[in-house]
Symmetry: C2
Subunit: 317 residues, 2 copies
Amino acid sequence: MRALHWDGQSLQVRSTYPEPQLTPGKAVVKVALAGICSTDLQILRGYMGFAGVPGHEFVGTVVDGPDTLRGQRVVGEINFACGACAMCARDLQRHCPTRRVMGILNADGSFAEYLAVPLENLHVVPENVTDEEAVFTEPLAAAFEVLEQLPLQPETEVVVFGDGKLGLLCAQVLHSVGARVTLVGKHPDKLALMRGLGIATEMVSRWTAKSVDVVVEATGSTIGLSLAMAAVRPRGTLILKSTVAQEHALSLAPLVINEVTVIGSRCGRFPPALHALAHKQVAVTPLITAIYSLSDGIAAVNRAMEPEVLKVLLRRV
Amino acid sequence: MRALHWDGQSLQVRSTYPEPQLTPGKAVVKVALAGICSTDLQILRGYMGFAGVPGHEFVGTVVDGPDTLRGQRVVGEINFACGACAMCARDLQRHCPTRRVMGILNADGSFAEYLAVPLENLHVVPENVTDEEAVFTEPLAAAFEVLEQLPLQPETEVVVFGDGKLGLLCAQVLHSVGARVTLVGKHPDKLALMRGLGIATEMVSRWTAKSVDVVVEATGSTIGLSLAMAAVRPRGTLILKSTVAQEHALSLAPLVINEVTVIGSRCGRFPPALHALAHKQVAVTPLITAIYSLSDGIAAVNRAMEPEVLKVLLRRV
């Protein structure tokens, strides 16, 4: 089959990559659309030491597996858990210590024509959700994860730093539950997109430190953390969505002095995201910058690396 | 009066320092004992840019103020709040943005014969609590602050890093509510002291990373934070008690990947600490290394800077 393959050194379109085989407990999915995420771009810089087919955002159709699923349009959670450890017993498969992660850790991902996914990871896509919407389920679930970790009261003041894909989704999700959200970013076009949805925005160049209840750090940069730490009120909450892998100079003393709670936040459950898409509570398709065919995958990845770009998708054909 | 005075450059015993005057809303306290805290030692290295009389741990007797308090033995909370702001309205005077802090920020402290304290900050010491115990109220309250921020279930597994004064108090407080506490430190004598109280201990040199529910970082060092981050389980809680003011290299990515909650924790309310002292739920006097007279204050501070030392007290005469 055709697949984008990263060997640890270079990314190539392969036309004869082995198709995934059906094994017990899995289904084979024919990918319709896959999304390129910032994590994928980090992987192509060596993150996680991954080699294989990247990609962990997709929507597709089950072509091989149980009769009940065959022909169904599905999306899939990305953590492949052992099912037997203490974390799995707590229903925290996303934290299974021996997990494999689709396109990130010891498992081929979605930048291919076909993909094998454990059955328990699959979710059927509601009929009224398009492929172009459904492919956002995984990043949207990561935004909803904030609400699983921190139940928000309506009217809570929230500042989201970062107008990348994740920041835009977080701002929308928190806005959808009635929080008073301000999105702080550096791209006028992206901020204008959110203003069109009723979300307050501010250019970071004009931002002055405030003292707000909840701050979400989704800039993906080390500077974002400093901004976020300065913005949160004493006894407030700082949600960390950015995984900034490189070390940087930092003092956590302000967190102690102001008794701030910091919550690291990563992947989320899919059902809240699918529910929000089915009920049109968030607008994801305006985040699509471009759609490339899988065979133009290299160009797609290069495009995704440009700063003004939001979501770049790969279409199977 | 006699007082230890820090002018920003040097520490001196002054014998004619002006006595605090009684002003409305305050009481004047004759200090019996004052405790030297690590924060005081940081102040003598320039922390907070403080100049004046340091010291924020004391027990004494009210000599001037309302009739109901005169002659009473008291301890005093250290944050002098405005009483009018949003934080004060939330009963979070400790986070009042315009607060003065006893011996730390714009207010003379307890390394003196007399001290002026706002009435609302004073707490009468129960009769069965000795002066040598009562002088620990402030640091013990800081240990109890952990329980205000994170209600702990009995049997919760907790690791406390740091066998300094604060670590020893945190370990005892968490042990007193039934948590399964392990104290990790580097001083065999201090660890032995805790084992005598029924608390498990481990030398940091023999420590291997585990995956525990709750980790308390009280080492006061940058290395402690790395150890603590490695010890907490996914979705676990890391309590930061150390204020490490200097910047150091760090990546917070593990907090995001493991969805750890980090809670900055500083000063606490006095009533839980006084209750624990009155009911002998914690043992504080074994932490006293030495008692100096106020006039030997310089020697006392030098002693407090030695690594094996725990609490050094200053006695008025």
